[in-house]
């Protein structure tokens, strides 16, 4: 959304970079536009997940015993580990934005790679969690085949577990792609104190992905 094509105005005025797009008057206008655009996109993301949270809340209220019984199949340690990993990644993302703002290219690449590593760790942990569930037959809807349940209806919990963590996981993967793209551009030396909008708005997105997990963790792993 915020990428820029080097334009004919490259050296038009002081403080401008080759990344000013032709239809903006100045860099600050382009930066603000990108930032408002990302905030609006985050609003749509909140509403997208909001529909699932509403559905989860209503189903939880209708089948409280089944949800509590089902959530015991989740591994709290793994969930907590992932929460910590994502929190650290948000911190390194903030440091990346700072490095870009202060034109520290090497630090920028380092912090972006650290963020990427945390995101990768999250997905690896998620992979082990999912494989365990698949193995036990803890699957959504009609594929649920776990043996020995005493409380009926636990498939409903896993329907929501897989939809919500799955949609969140897709967002993590998309975030990883965006951060990898930032690394590539950072290595090419695109970012400096004059132009760092892509780092900043990817950071905003990444914090939202983190925040959604902060809500998912207690809702899924810590109910009573």
């Amino acid at each position: 959304m915020s990428t820029a094509i080097p334009s004919a105005h490259a050296h038009a005025e002081g403080g401008q970079t080759p990344f000013l797009q032709h239809h903006f008057r100045e860099m600050s206008q382009q930066f603000d536009a990108a930032k408002i655009g990302m905030w609006l996109f985050l609003v749509t993301e909140v509403l997208l997940f909001g529909g699932l949270f509403v559905g989860y809340g209503i189903m939880h209220a209708r089948h409280p015993e089944a949800f509590v019984a089902a959530h015991h199949h989740l591994d709290k340690t793994m969930g907590a580990l992932n929460t910590v990993v994502l929190l650290i990644s948000s911190f390194t993302m903030v440091l990346s934005v700072w490095a870009a703002q202060t034109s520290r290219k090497k630090l920028l690449v380092l912090f972006l790679l650290l963020t990427l590593a945390c995101a990768g760790t999250f997905m690896v942990v998620k992979y082990f969690e999912y494989s365990h569930k698949f193995h036990e037959g803890l699957l959504p809807g009609k594929y649920y085949s776990h043996k020995g349940d005493t409380v009926p209806g636990q498939f409903l919990f896993f329907s929501f577990y897989f939809m919500m963590t799955g949609l969140h996981g897709i967002h993590v993967l998309l975030g990883m792609a965006a951060i990898a793209w930032l690394v590539w551009r950072a290595l090419k030396g695109h970012f400096s104190s004059l132009y760092y909008a892509p780092v900043e708005i990817t950071g905003l997105y990444w914090h939202l992905v983190d925040l959604i997990w902060i809500y998912l963790f207690p809702l899924m792993y810590l109910i009573s």
Binding site: M1, H9, I36, G55
Partner: protein
């Protein structure tokens, strides 16, 4: 830097080519970032979908000439009315005015070179086409029979038609409109020309802005809801099916949380068009600018609080119903403010009955009938009787189909010279506007009577005493179709007219008329700087903007 001279009209020899002339390859159209070219792409694709949606509509009307049906099987009939609803709502009414007229005009009206995110704008068109193709394929592979509302548990568990593919189409089209909505909001906030304050914005911009707010806040909810229906079909996840422990009314709540505001997504830009046309052809400043601007925002806000009036008969508590009923009445207030302001604008104006203005008069008639019959449906005691009858069908066709279509036509006739630099045959245009108005009313007025006498919607057969009114309605649909075909014919024929037309044939006093017709790729030579607000229709008006030769 800035000179006192107004922006010059007409083309000077050294002027850059118009946006239509700036490249003739297919690639220069399909990979364009120019909001005007994307608007033309949208116009073509929206027209194609409108044609197919209308085709389905005329099949419905022909089928209903006889109480026992004419040519369709009952299950084919269900697929035809579903196709009509889905195509018209998701692929015509929602994108039509914002994506065609809004896309073309919004940047020019605020003195910008383009929307804030040109590539996102192009992406939105591709998403729209991809979503539309999914819908078309679903119909080609055998159709869908759920109705456009996809009510569960029928859609999620029992219908064995192409529900999944259709929903994926609607889902993708939803992201197309989200992209447009985000683009419009950012553009209005950040791309306004120097001197273009919020209260100097043409009211069309206010309408588009309010619509974009609804799109951004509503569409994600319906997207996830439709995704849940797909998941329920594929995995039987159990959220909407009572036998699995789910709640079918939850679907209705989530669906109408978007789909009722979607009605205002359709009508607000339509009202925006009406503002522009009415003030130009009354040669008078719009009456109550601030009231009209804020009533758009009020409709957008209230629109999110009334979804429950679709569920007066589906297990909603009486007290909930009362609150939703009251809030639904309240929407009438900002709507009425607009109608009164338009009337006051015409009053003592120097009215010129050109084609766009004829459509405006038609719009006001249809919108008042549609709006007032909405109050019948917002009242719980009458709604219990009228739910799912032809009264509802007639009501929503008046407000969202008739009003929207006629406003789109008003806008197309007003800005056609701006978009293509050519005028159409005005006599034929006047005739077809009359045909469309008469045809529309002949089609849908009888349906109010049918509904109040108990004719249920979506029925394939009906009692013999309803036949006369059904036949009248079908004849009306033919008159309407004749008017639409005539419109398409003379608009296309206008491309054979010579171009020698004034840049501002109607004497419009908003910024889009201060540049060439059709505009150049960058819209203006240099940067316009606004001196005052729009709608200065005094005999000797001040220039709207002066240009500052930037860069």
């Amino acid at each position: 830097m800035s000179t006192a001279a107004p922006v010059l009209h007409g083309e000077s020899p050294k002027a850059p080519p118009s946006y239509l002339q700036a490249g003739h390859t297919i690639k220069s159209w399909l990979l364009t970032g120019d909001h005007k070219r994307i608007a033309v792409l949208y116009l073509i694709s929206v027209s194609v979908f409108f044609f197919f949606g209308s085709l389905a509509a005329s099949m419905i009307r022909i089928e209903l000439v006889s109480p026992r049906g004419v040519m369709l099987e009952s299950d084919t009939y269900n697929k035809v009315f579903t196709a009509h609803g889905i195509i018209m709502i998701f692929f015509f009414l929602i994108p039509a005015i914002p994506a065609v007229l809004g896309n073309f005009l919004l940047p020019i009206m605020i003195g910008a070179r383009d929307l804030a995110f040109p590539r996102l704008n192009l992406l939105s068109w591709y998403l729209y086409v991809a979503g539309g193709l999914c819908g078309v394929l679903a119909i080609a592979f055998g159709g869908v029979d759920t109705g456009w509302t996809f009510y569960t548990p029928y859609s999620s568990m029992y219908s064995n038609t192409n529900v999944t593919l259709t929903i994926i189409g609607a889902f993708i089209a939803g992201f197309s409109s989200i992209a447009t909505g985000i683009n419009f909001i950012v553009t209005v906030h950040k791309m306004r020309a120097p001197g273009m304050t919020w209260f100097r914005l043409p009211l069309m911009v206010w309408g588009s802005y309010a619509t974009s707010l609804i799109i951004v806040l509503g569409t994600p909810v319906v997207a996830i809801t439709l995704l849940l229906v797909v998941m329920e079909r594929v995995f039987h996840i159990g959220v909407f099916s009572p036998e699995l422990g789910g709640d079918p009314v939850l679907f209705q709540h989530l669906f109408w949380f978007y789909s009722h505001p979607a009605v205002y997504i359709m009508i607000l830009p339509a009202m925006g068009v009406i503002n522009e046309v009415i003030t130009c052809f009354s040669r008078k400043r719009i009456f109550g600018y601030h009231f009209i601007a804020f009533s758009s925002l009020a409709i957008a806000g209230l629109g999110f609080l009334v979804w429950g009036h679709h569920m007066f008969v589906s297990s909603q508590s009486m007290y909930q119903g009362m609150v939703f009923s009251l809030l639904s009445y309240l929407v009438a207030v900002p709507s009425a403010i607009k109608v009164f302001n338009w009337t006051a604008t015409i009053y003592k104006g120097s009215v010129r009955f050109q084609t766009p203005f004829l459509y405006v008069l038609g719009f006001m008639g249809l919108f008042v009938v549609g709006g007032l019959t909405g109050l019948f449906l917002a009242a719980m005691s009458t709604d219990v009787h009228l739910t799912d009858t032809y009264f509802v069908v007639a009501h929503f066709h008046y407000v969202m189909a008739g009003s929207n279509l006629i406003a789109l036509l008003a806008g197309m006739h007003y800005w056609w010279p701006k978009m293509y630099g050519r005028l159409y045959n005005k006599k034929l245009a006047a005739i077809s506007s009359a045909l469309i108005f008469v045809g529309f009313n002949l089609t849908f007025l009888p349906q109010f009577v049918l509904g109040s006498r108990g004719m249920p919607r979506r029925y394939f057969n009906y009692l013999p005493q309803f036949q006369d009114l059904h036949v009248a309605s079908t004849i009306g649909s033919w008159v309407l179709a004749a008017g639409l075909f005539l419109t398409a014919a003379y608009l296309l024929a206008s491309f054979r007219q010579p171009k020698g037309m004034a840049a501002n044939p109607w004497g419009g006093r908003t910024l889009e008329w201060e540049t060439t017709s059709p505009p150049t790729t960058h819209n203006f030579e240099g940067q316009p700087v606004l001196q005052h607000g729009p709608y200065d229709y005094r005999p000797e008006p001040a220039a709207v903007g002066v240009k500052e030769l930037a860069h």
